[in-house]
Each structure stands twice: as structure tokens, then as C-alpha cells.
């Protein structure tokens, strides 16, 4: 059963320029779908459309079904209740995603008290439990500190905990690790994969890195300047790409494989300069 289904989604800017062009895809429950594309290909806009948070001057057409319910027809209030509770979000720049002058513990209890009828004390207890699950040591200290007192990696762990705490059915991760160092990136990716699998959630993973999509995704949709040019299971897309652009992406990515037994090092390939 599809948790999220997007049908003929098109997003047009105020001047009429087509930013996202008639794209449709679906997200099966418990599975991870990856939107793969370079910056400016419209993947972040698509994720914002699902959350109903498109900027005021953009027009959106097409349907977004969440568990069969068309979100477009919902009132602002009910769409807001879905955000956070049923659809969690993890952003690209962790240190900017938390409010700079509110302690992290308070932001957790604000989130929980907005969705569940529980006391702030109970919310903070659950939050600390989730923080320990994202492998953060002295969780009590983290609860009291501000986001600018934590490193990028720690901030992202807090963001993951905050996205997963209300047990949403769907998690949208928009380039969660591209702003982090290579070493912390690996830890965060494996942590994310384990938690999503463990909590049986479905994830919409947005990235420009083919390696990450091969590691995390069950199905992939390749986007280029606002259009989904190819879509299918990971084996089909990465193994037997049909679209020329996807082929080029895979070929270049293979050339840059570091580990032994990789392909020939950077022999200048035939692509025209």
C-alpha cells in the first residue's frame, strides 16, 4: 500500500516558469524512495510541496495523497497537524534548523505537546530516550544546551531524534549529510538506515550523491531540471540506466571509486570537453 502518492505534480513560479514538471511517484510503506538529482533540479521543491510549505508566490497543481487522503483538499489546520506527527523532516543544514535562543529540550517538548496530550515532563523523558537511541552521550546536557553549542554531527543527530520522536509514518530527509564531514557522514547515514528499518518507517531521501542512493534506496527517481526522467528499482536505475544523463552520472561516479578493485583511475574519458 502506498503511504504517499504524488500525481502529476507541477510547480510554476510567479512569472510562469515551470520549476517542477508533471512528476508522479509513490512511496510504499516501510520502503525508501530516493529523489536523485543535481542542485536546482526541483527535488527540494517537491518535498516542500508534500509538506504544503511552498513559498507564497509559487502555484502548485496535481494531487498529493497521504494514506489515500488528498492533502490539497485539507484545511491549513489539518495539514499542519500532519506535519511533524505523520511526516517528519530532516534538513540539510543541522546547525540552522534549531531555534538559536531556545534550549533543545524545550524545542522537543514544544514539538510533542503540539501533537500529543502529554505533559512537558513526560515529553522530555521520551526525548531523552530517543536522544540516547541516536547514540548521543550525556543526553541531559544536550537537552539543556543551545544548538550553537553542538557540532554539526551532533546537531544532525538531534534533528533525526526530533523527526523520529513522534513516530511519523513518513520521514523526508533532504540532503541530510551533504553539509557534514565525510567521516561523520558515514556514521549519520548508517544510523539513519538502522533507525528507519528498526521503526519500520518509509523515507523519501533527497540527494545528489549516487553512492548514498545505492546504499539507502529501494526505488530511485532521477530528476533533472524539474522533470523525473527515469524511475524504478535501484538495480534497474543504477545497473541498467536507460536515460543518457543517468548513464553519464553512473559512469562518472564509477570512475571516482576509491576502494581497491575499483575501476580504472581517472583516465580521461571520451566525453566531449
Amino acid at each position: 500500500m502506498d503511504v504517499v502518492e504524488i500525481k502529476n505534480l507541477s510547480i510554476r513560479s510567479a512569472e510562469g516558469q515551470l520549476l517542477v514538471h508533471d512528476s508522479s511517484f509513490s512511496l510504499e510503506s516501510g520502503k525508501t524512495h530516493c529523489l536523485l538529482g543535481e542542485s536546482g533540479s526541483g527535488k527540494t521543491l517537491t518535498s516542500k510541496a508534500i509538506l504544503g510549505m511552498l513559498p507564497a508566490d509559487l502555484h502548485m497543481s496535481g494531487d498529493i495523497l497521504f494514506r489515500g487522503q488528498n492533502l490539497n483538499l485539507l484545511s491549513k489546520k489539518s495539514w499542519r497537524q500532519i506535519r511533524g506527527k505523520h511526516i517528519g523532516t530532516i534538513f540539510q543544514h543541522p546547525e540552522q534548523a534549531l531555534h538559536p535562543s531556545i534550549p533543545i529540550g524545550r524545542q522537543f517538548s514544544d514539538l510533542m505537546c503540539s501533537h500529543l496530550p502529554i505533559s512537558r515532563y513526560e515529553a522530555e523523558k521520551q526525548a531523552e530516550k530517543m536522544l540516547s537511541r541516536v547514540l548521543l552521550k550525556d543526553t541531559a546536557q544536550v537537552m539543556k544546551s543551545y544548538s550553537h553549542e553542538l557540532s554539526g554531527g551532533m546537531n544532525q543527530r538531534v534533528m533525526i531524534a526530533m523527526a523520529l520522536l513522534p513516530k511519523p509514518e513518513v520521514v523526508i530527509a533532504d540532503e541530510p549529510t551533504s553539509a557534514l564531514d565525510v567521516t561523520t557522514q558515514a556514521e549519520i547515514i548508517s544510523l539513519l538506515r538502522h533507525l528507519i528499518w528498526d521503526l519500520k518507517m518509509s523515507m523519501l531521501f533527497i540527494t545528489h550523491d549516487l553512492l548514498l542512493s545505492s546504499y539507502l534506496a529501494d526505488t530511485i527517481g532521477v530528476m533533472r531540471s524539474g522533470e523525473i526522467i527515469e524511475q524504478g528499482s535501484t538495480e534497474r536505475i543504477l545497473g541498467r540506466p536507460e536515460h543518457e544523463y543517468t548513464k553519464q552520472l553512473c559512469r562518472y561516479r564509477s570512475q571516482r571509486i576509491l576502494s581497491k578493485g575499483g575501476n580504472s583511475p581517472n583516465a580521461p574519458s571520451s566525453t566531449a570537453l
Binding site: 543535481e38 557522514q185 558515514a186 545505492s214 543504477l238 548513464k247 553512473c250 571509486i257 576509491l258 580521461p268
Partner: protein, 264 residues
């Protein structure tokens, strides 16, 4: 030939760079690999005399880092040029591309207007940009075009050493690959010595002969690129850098291996 000796830099008490030493022979190429906060961009700015080091010195063909006086700076910059990180604002947004490229020629050479025009067209062609981009403002160029324009601006006064500070960080894979191949062809063609600064180890094989790994402002180790994979000699930090994408690469290779056979 660039010699960096015991270079240190402290900013309000915090050590950013401590005791960095390396040498780049004429025509040689060195990659400096390190994660964010390892001080590699500060190193680039010190070598470009945009900041003064706390201690230590930088020599290029026996001439030391310029401190005062525009003439000494100009001599230094006529030999060493830099392409900055692609923050899409290293070219003056109020100038046309033509005048951006003309600026170094006006300051460093006494070519006439006509000769300057030909020089600009020659380098524009070398970096693969079309002539009619010249009248546009830099703001109108795409990411890839912007970096090629910066490369042309740096190379137009034919420096002996080119420093690239994370020049492909924000480009997509296809443009990154084309930019690296362009750098390689220019380096071979003109025997240019290259200092390539990046956080992405996978860019380095094939481009640079030597690699210097940095962490928190200190030099971890320096070795030849061919020795990248024999783990016995390598420092544990270099190995973690190597290994960080390994688990991802193994899953990638399951899919990608058929791909290479079929399309070659």
C-alpha cells in the same frame, strides 16, 4: 618551486595552522586533503599573502612572501594565482565578464587593447566558454561556466603555480569531472605546478602526484598518490578517510559492475 617552511597561524589565540612544511617542484602537483576546519583554506590565503603568517615563511623561487609595497605583491601574484571556492561571488557582479578578465591583463601586462582582446578570447576558448558570454554579467553564468571563467582569469597572466581551493565543491558530478579533466590537460600542456585543495579524496587520483593530509591545522602525513592504497604505511586518519565511503562503495559496486561491462 614553492617551499613552505614551519608555517604557523594563530587567530585571537586559537592555533589554526601549526608547523606546516612541504615543497612543490616546478611542474609538480600536490593535493591537500582535509575536512572542514583543518585549516586548508587559511593555508591557501597565507600562500597568496592575503593574510600574514604568525611564524614561518613561504618561498617561491627563493623570493619570500611579500609584506609591504604593491610592487612586491604584484611580482608574487604574477607567478602565483588562485581560483577560490565556488561561492559564485569571486567575480565583480557589477562588471561584464570581458572587463573581469581584462583586469589582470591591465595590472600585470602592458598589452594594448587589441592584444588584450585576443588574449581574452584565446583563454576563453581554452576553458571551453563561448565568446558571447563576454558581454554578460557574472551573475548570469551557470555554476560550471562561473568556475571556468575564474580559471581563465587566473591563467590569463600565465602564472607558474596555480592554487585551487575547493573549486569543484558545489558543482555536480558531471561538471566536476569535466573541470578536473580541463585542469589535467592545462597542467600537462603548460607544465604548470598545481596546489589542489579539497575535502573529497576521490577527486585526487590521476590529478595530483602527491597528497598531503591535514587535520585540525596539523600535517598528518605526505605521500605519493600511488601509495594511497597500501594501508600498512598510511596513518590511521588517512585510512578512516579512505574507508569512510567504503561501505557505500561496496553496495554501489554490486550494481555498477554490470554497467561497466555493457557500456564500456
Amino acid at each position: 618551486m614553492l617551499q613552505v617552511q614551519r608555517l604557523c597561524k594563530e587567530i585571537n589565540g586559537r592555533p589554526i595552522l601549526s608547523d606546516i612544511n612541504f615543497v612543490i617542484e616546478d611542474g609538480g602537483s600536490l593535493a591537500i586533503v582535509g575536512e572542514s576546519g583543518s585549516g586548508k583554506s587559511t593555508l591557501a590565503q597565507l600562500i597568496m599573502a592575503l593574510k600574514q603568517p604568525t611564524s614561518g615563511q613561504v618561498l617561491f623561487n627563493e623570493r619570500s612572501l611579500p609584506r609591504k609595497g604593491i610592487k612586491s605583491y604584484k611580482e608574487w601574484y604574477s607567478d602565483i594565482q588562485i581560483v577560490f571556492q565556488n561561492t559564485a561571488s569571486t567575480l565583480n557582479p557589477a562588471m561584464s565578464l570581458y572587463r573581469c578578465l581584462e583586469e589582470p591583463l591591465i595590472n600585470f601586462t602592458n598589452l594594448k587593447r587589441r592584444e588584450r582582446r585576443d588574449k581574452i578570447l584565446e583563454y576563453l576558448n581554452k576553458v571551453g566558454l563561448h565568446r558571447d558570454l563576454l558581454k554578460h554579467r557574472p551573475g548570469k553564468l551557470s555554476g560550471g561556466q562561473y568556475q571556468r571563467a575564474c580559471l581563465a582569469k587566473a591563467l590569463i597572466i600565465s602564472p607558474k603555480l596555480l592554487i585551487c581551493d575547493e573549486i569543484v565543491a558545489s558543482l555536480d558530478i558531471v561538471l566536476q569531472q569535466q573541470m578536473i579533466e580541463l585542469l589535467m590537460s592545462i597542467q600537462k600542456e603548460r607544465g604548470l605546478s598545481l596546489l589542489f585543495i579539497t575535502h573529497d579524496l576521490s577527486l585526487v587520483p590521476g590529478l595530483c602526484a602527491d597528497i598531503l593530509v591535514m587535520k585540525d591545522g596539523k600535517k598528518v602525513e605526505q605521500f605519493n598518490t600511488s601509495a594511497l592504497h597500501n594501508e600498512e604505511e598510511r596513518d590511521i586518519y588517512t585510512i578512516t578517510l579512505l574507508k569512510s565511503t567504503e561501505s557505500l562503495e561496496t553496495t554501489w559496486k554490486q550494481y555498477a559492475t554490470h554497467d561497466n561491462k555493457s557500456t564500456g
